[in-house]
């Protein structure tokens, strides 16, 4: 057990993790107590696993090596990096590096390096579950290292522990549960965003000159914090609870909405105590979801009127996209019905079906089932039947198919050579996109889809 003051100082920085801290400090312990050979820290994204563990190890003064496994592409890179990092930390003057290409070699090397040292050493494998190309035995063998080297403790940090992750169950687990509403708000309240007063610059400088008392300033800070807390709670209830539960996402959502929310206060139109009227004023904000949808371009900038000229596909490429959509979402047995020029057959069949067996078997709408493959001949046949006028069957059409494929609007659905007649393709766009394209060429795609 580490001294209590350590824990409380860390606890100040990382609130709401007291239980986990105590558990960890018991496991890490001091030099006089042995630590387990390995243990697992698990918890979902942004629950403080990495930060708390790192802080604790640093404060405790133990030797430790921190490896971020998601930076390594192969297990070999991982083992070599472990060896290199430990060496530079323990024996910086060492020049004779062994090649630790496997876990075995690493174990042997670490046994040499750590064997006669009296101090404990911790090897933290952060995000080991994100290691790429990991063989199934990788984690188990890394755990065994702790058994073979008495001074070594291996700490695995994973998001979700698999029951048979290490092929043994007796390891201690430390769980970092997701923060609750109250905890999230408490953490966010540690550093609330300020209200950017426009009135200081905007209005005359009288208000500045009327030197605000310190009491006043304190009072304002208190009120602002109260607004922040209430605001956090509102965002949690309206948006965060459903869609942004992890702390970082929740903070993002709060921060993105904060500035527009307090704008009336910043302008001086509303007072600090009028939270509920602000809420009514901004009620639309909590219905919109654009602040919690992840985009590369920040939501606030995409909000402005969309004036950008869109890049257009070539005219017949649009028809090809429509044809591919139809080929993917209509069954081929309906083709004659839908695309044949004489349309009498359609009514008859439909009438016949409606009468007899309705509701016998409920079908899922085909649009929800995902696209099915089609041979290129079918695509071409549909294409020529939906194009309003005759076009010569030139090589241009095929080159457009190739272009659409490289844009991944069409994708190849079978591993065969694309020149093979039996190679299958499918469309890779959603209904909204296909409909948008169909509308831009005034083609009623709905008429041709069999629901």
């Amino acid at each position: 057990m580490l001294p209590q003051e350590f824990l409380s100082s860390i606890s100040l920085r990382y609130p709401c993790r007291t239980t986990q801290l105590q558990l960890l400090s018991a496991l890490i312990g001091s030099d006089s107590f042995p630590s387990p050979q390995a243990f697992i820290i698990h918890g979902l994204e942004s629950t403080g696993k990495t930060a708390v563990t790192h802080a604790l190890l640093e404060e405790s003064g133990h030797n430790f090596t921190w490896i971020s496994c998601n930076e390594c592409i192969t297990p070999r890179q991982l083992t070599e990096r472990i060896a290199a990092t430990i060496t530079t930390e323990l024996a910086p003057e060492e020049t004779n590096f062994p090649r630790c290409e496997t876990v075995n070699a690493l174990t042997v090397y670490l046994q040499q390096l750590l064997g006669d040292d009296g101090k404990k050493h911790f090897l933290v494998l952060d995000r080991i579950d994100q290691q790429r190309d990991a063989p199934p035995t990788l984690m188990a063998s890394l755990r065994r290292m702790g058994e073979m080297i008495p001074k070594l403790t291996v700490i695995f940090i994973v998001s979700v522990p698999h029951p048979r992750l290490l092929h043994s169950v007796e390891l201690p687990h430390v769980h970092f549960p997701p923060y609750t509403k109250e905890e999230s708000i408490e953490i966010l309240s540690l550093n609330p965003l300020p209200i950017d007063r426009i009135r200081n610059s905007d209005r005359d400088e009288e208000s500045d000159d009327e030197s605000e008392d310190e009491d006043d300033a304190e009072e304002t800070a208190k009120l602002e914090l109260a607004i922040w807390k209430k605001f956090c709670a509102t965002v949690w209830d309206s948006l965060g609870k459903g869609a942004a539960r992890s702390l970082t996402q929740f903070r993002d959502a709060v921060e993105k909405n904060w500035a527009p929310f307090v704008e009336p206060i910043a302008k001086g139109d509303y007072g600090l105590k009028q939270f509920s009227s602000l809420l009514v004023l901004n009620k639309d904000m909590f219905r919109r979801e654009n602040t919690i949808i992840d985009t590369v371009i920040p939501a606030s900038t995409t909000e402005r009127p969309f004036t950008v000229k869109s890049h257009d596909l070539p005219h017949y490429s649009k028809y090809l996209v429509c044809a591919a959509y139809l080929a993917s979402y209509n069954q081929s047995r309906h083709d004659a019905l839908v695309f044949a020029k004489g349309r009498e057959g359609k009514k008859k069949r439909r009438g016949g079906r409606a009468g007899g067996r309705v509701g016998k078997k409920r079908k899922i709408a085909r649009r929800l089932l995902g696209p099915t493959g089609f041979p290129i001949e079918r695509l071409l046949a549909i294409f020529y039947s939906i194009v309003p006028h005759d076009i010569p069957p030139a090589v241009d059409i095929l080159s457009q198919i190739a272009t659409l494929t490289s844009m991944r609007i069409l994708i190849k659905a079978s591993a065969l050579d694309p020149l093979d007649g039996s190679a299958k393709w499918k469309v890779n766009v959603a209904w909204e996109y296909a409909r948008g394209i169909a509308r831009s060429i005034k083609f009623d795609i709905e008429d041709y889809l069999i629901e």
Binding site: E45, S68, N70, E71, I73, T74, R76, Q77, E80, R81, A83, A84, T87, T95, N96, F97, P98, R99, R132, D294, T295, V296, I297, P298, T301, V308, K309, S310, H311, D312, L313, P314, H315, Y316, S317, P375, E377, L380, A381, Y384, I391, P392, P393, A394, V395, D396, I397, S399, Q400, T403, S406, M407, R408, I409, L419, D420, G421, S422, V429, Y433
Partner: protein
């Protein structure tokens, strides 16, 4: 098809041999080498060496081989001269076009600090449009600009073809990034790659991190050229790796997007998208590229050879319907120059025009005069001269070569002037249209081809409507229109300029007079019609009466002026909007042959194969396949090539073809024909079972090779049909 060998100089019989002894003949090689297309590219950089590269003339003598060698050379040289000038201008336009995007991106990269994006990867999304061919040059421009001009750091371009797995991509990324900045000394290399014993693996981003530690202030710019085609798993892995190393390596991502932002966002997992933040950049659209290049290459005042109406339509339509790629349009233009000078002996007339043109009489020889007299436009000119009873000139042109040359000189000047006038009149047309803001905008390229084809004259509704709008405009918009026109130098010649300037002054004087200090807006008396658009009857009536009573004397004076403006416009349009076919020598100055372009740029590969199989007589031209006029369609003859017989049977069958049935039919046809010939020839071999089978196996193998059939697993003894005719 059979005459290809005679036509193509680089045809070699060995090309169709499966194997042969390679025996390089030194004397042989230069003449069989195909035209080097890149030659022109290298010459444009240093025009002084131009004669060198174009020394060897690759054109054939035309006019049944009677063309003097000098003329062949002249065509060759003129082609190079004209096309190089055109190409220079085109590339300049294309390069200047992305200037704004380049500027935006370079400021974005310069300002990209992780702190600005709250620890996320600074990402620029480049919306580059569906023209994939242009992405390569665009990204190379980025590379050049960011690395060489701005010095922001190494730019690594990743394409989907090179990125089949994560390891390989990282290797390439690290190699490109560390090598771009120039040579490293050994010490540096040791620092970067690691000490001897613990050399870092070559895909370890730690190498790049070490490199960045040495080169402070440099950013590593990773540009993904075709984000859509990239394997999304690899892209996601890459981005998350970059995110993990973000604190050590200052990455900046540039992602090229061909489709749309929505599709891009759907492609990547949310966790990866959360790692990126940035801006989007728009690249100019293909239509704007086209408009600019078209204005220069077809409407420009410097070009001698222009597109004819049919070909212009073909190229522009193809651009809109199929490719959206400016590169193919430019290729089409180049091909126009190539075929014109390659195949038209009279194209040397173009050598005589322009600033340093040779005198026409020196250029032409007897045989050329003969060829000129064969031109349709020559005949037409003669006929129209006869109609006007100018017989003297007709006789001279027919008999006297020097007189003809004189006429040709005049005619070529007229053709050039005509081209300039058309383009200027279209400019005037455009400005007038933009000032009056009438609804649908037809592009200039379309108008151009209509004018040349004679479909757009002053009588056509489009022009009349525009002239009406000019007439109806009030003093304010008329002033604006005239001012922009006078600034634009689109006016056909200076006399119009003077007239319009005078009229503009008059209008301005009048409106100042009428309104005193505050300029009053004068309305034209022709403006009444416009008000008929009023919806309710009462308001319309009020409007009309108001209008009539409201017309002051100034207004009627103004109306007279605007009538004059209208007349000037009409005069200009009627002068310029004439069809090309009335001009003598239009064949030389306006290239309008569709079929070479069609055959080269959009060949009908499928119907060629299908026709060849269905009607072998068209290609083979032999007696045995010959069809009489009354049996044109689908008559199976035993004398046809066997594959063609099998193909016709194949066309008649369903999706699954029973192999035995097909054989039976095949055999019957082979025999059926044989019997007839037996009777005629009296004897001869009945086709025996084994030969028939052998032939049958061969044809089926051939059909399979061409992708028409495949064995199917559904039924063992059946073939599956894969291709239908006419698609």
């Amino acid at each position: 098809m059979s005459h290809t060998s005679a036509k193509e100089p680089d045809y070699h019989h060995r090309e169709h041999q499966t194997c042969y002894l390679f025996n390089p003949e030194r004397n042989d090689t230069p003449s069989t080498r195909p035209t080097k297309k890149r030659r022109t590219g290298s010459t444009k950089a240093k025009p002084s060496t131009a004669p060198k590269s174009t020394e060897r003339c690759l054109f054939q003598p035309l006019l049944n081989g009677d063309e003097p060698e000098q003329a062949v050379r002249l065509r060759w040289m003129t082609y190079h001269r004209l096309w190089e000038a055109q190409e220079l201008r085109t590339t300049a336009i294309l390069e200047s076009f992305n200037e704004k995007t380049l500027d935006d991106i370079s400021t974005f990269v310069a300002a990209a600090e992780p702190a600005k994006y709250s620890g996320k990867l600074p990402t620029g999304l480049v919306l580059a449009g569906p023209n994939i061919a242009s992405h390569g040059p665009l990204f190379r421009q980025f590379q050049k600009r960011l690395n060489e001009v701005d010095g922001a750091g190494p730019v690594v371009i990743l394409t989907s073809k090179e990125a089949s797995n994560l390891k390989g991509t990282l290797k390439k990324l690290i190699r490109d990034a560390t090598e771009q900045s120039g040579d490293l000394d050994e010490d540096d290399e040791e620092v970067i790659v690691g000490r001897k014993g613990a050399k870092l693996l070559n895909y370890d981003l730690q190498i790049l991190a070490n490199w960045c530690a040495i080169h402070q202030g440099k950013k590593v710019i990773v540009a993904v050229q075709d984000t859509e085609a990239f394997d999304s798993g690899i892209l996601a892995d890459l981005v998350s790796l970059f995110g993990a190393y973000q604190d050590r390596i200052p990455f900046v991502l540039l992602l090229g997007i061909a489709t749309s932002l929505e599709i891009f966002h759907e492609k990547l997992p949310k966790a990866v998208i959360r790692l990126m933040e940035g801006e989007k950049f728009d690249v100019e659209r293909a239509e704007e590229y086209l408009a600019q290049v078209f204005n220069d290459a077809v409407l420009g005042k410097d070009c001698l050879l222009r597109l004819g109406p049919t070909l212009c339509n073909f190229l522009v339509d193809r651009q809109h319907d199929h490719t959206q790629s400016i590169q193919t349009f430019v290729a089409g233009l180049k091909y126009m120059y190539m075929t014109h000078f390659y195949a038209n002996p009279l194209s040397i007339v173009l050598a005589s025009v322009g600033e340093n043109g040779l005198p026409l009489r020196q250029v032409l020889s007897d045989i050329h005069y003969k060829a000129v007299r064969q031109l349709p436009s020559f005949k037409q000119t003669i006929e129209s001269c006869i109609a006007e009873e100018r017989t003297k000139i007709v006789r001279e042109m027919l008999n006297n070569d020097s007189a003809l040359a004189r006429e040709m000189e005049k005619a070529s000047q007229r053709c050039l002037l005509y081209g300039v006038e058309v383009s200027r009149a279209l400019g005037v047309f455009d400005i007038a249209r933009s000032c009056s803001s009438s609804g649908s905008r037809i592009t200039r390229s379309e108008l151009y081809s209509r004018v040349l084809a004679g479909e757009l004259t002053t009588q056509s509704p489009l022009v009349r409507e525009l002239l009406m709008l000019v007439k109806r405009s009030n003093s304010e918009s008329a002033t604006k229109l005239l001012k922009t026109l006078l600034q634009s130098n689109y006016l056909l010649d200076s006399t119009y300029e003077d007239v319009l300037e005078e009229l503009l002054d008059e209008i301005q004087d009048l409106s100042t007079e009428a309104g005193g200090k505050k300029k009053k807006n004068l309305t034209s008396e022709f403006d009444v019609v416009d008000n008929a658009l009023r919806t309710t009857a009462v308001s319309r009536r009020i409007q009309i009466s108001e209008h009539k009573s409201g017309l002051s004397t100034k207004d009627s004076e103004y109306s007279k002026i605007i009538q004059k403006v209208h007349d000037v416009f009409e005069q200009m349009f009627s002068r310029a909007f004439r069809p090309t076919k009335d001009l003598f020598l239009n064949e030389i100055f306006f290239y309008d042959y569709l079929s070479p372009h069609q055959e080269v740029f959009s060949p009908k590969q499928r119907s060629a194969v299908e026709d060849g199989l269905a009607r072998p007589s068209e290609y083979l031209n032999c007696e045995c396949c010959y069809l009489d006029d009354d049996e044109k369609e689908n008559v199976l003859k035993s004398t046809n090539p066997v594959t063609s017989i099998a193909y016709q049977l194949y066309l008649e069958s369903g999706v699954l073809i029973n192999a035995f049935d097909l054989y039976q039919a095949f055999h019957t046809i082979l025999e059926g024909g044989e019997e007839e010939s037996d009777e005629e020839e009296g004897g001869g071999g009945q086709i025996d079972e084994k030969t028939a089978q052998a032939l049958y196996y061969r044809t089926v193998a051939e059909l399979r090779y061409m992708g028409f059939v495949k064995p199917t697993r559904k039924r063992v003894d059946h073939l599956q049909k894969f291709a239908w005719k006419g698609l």
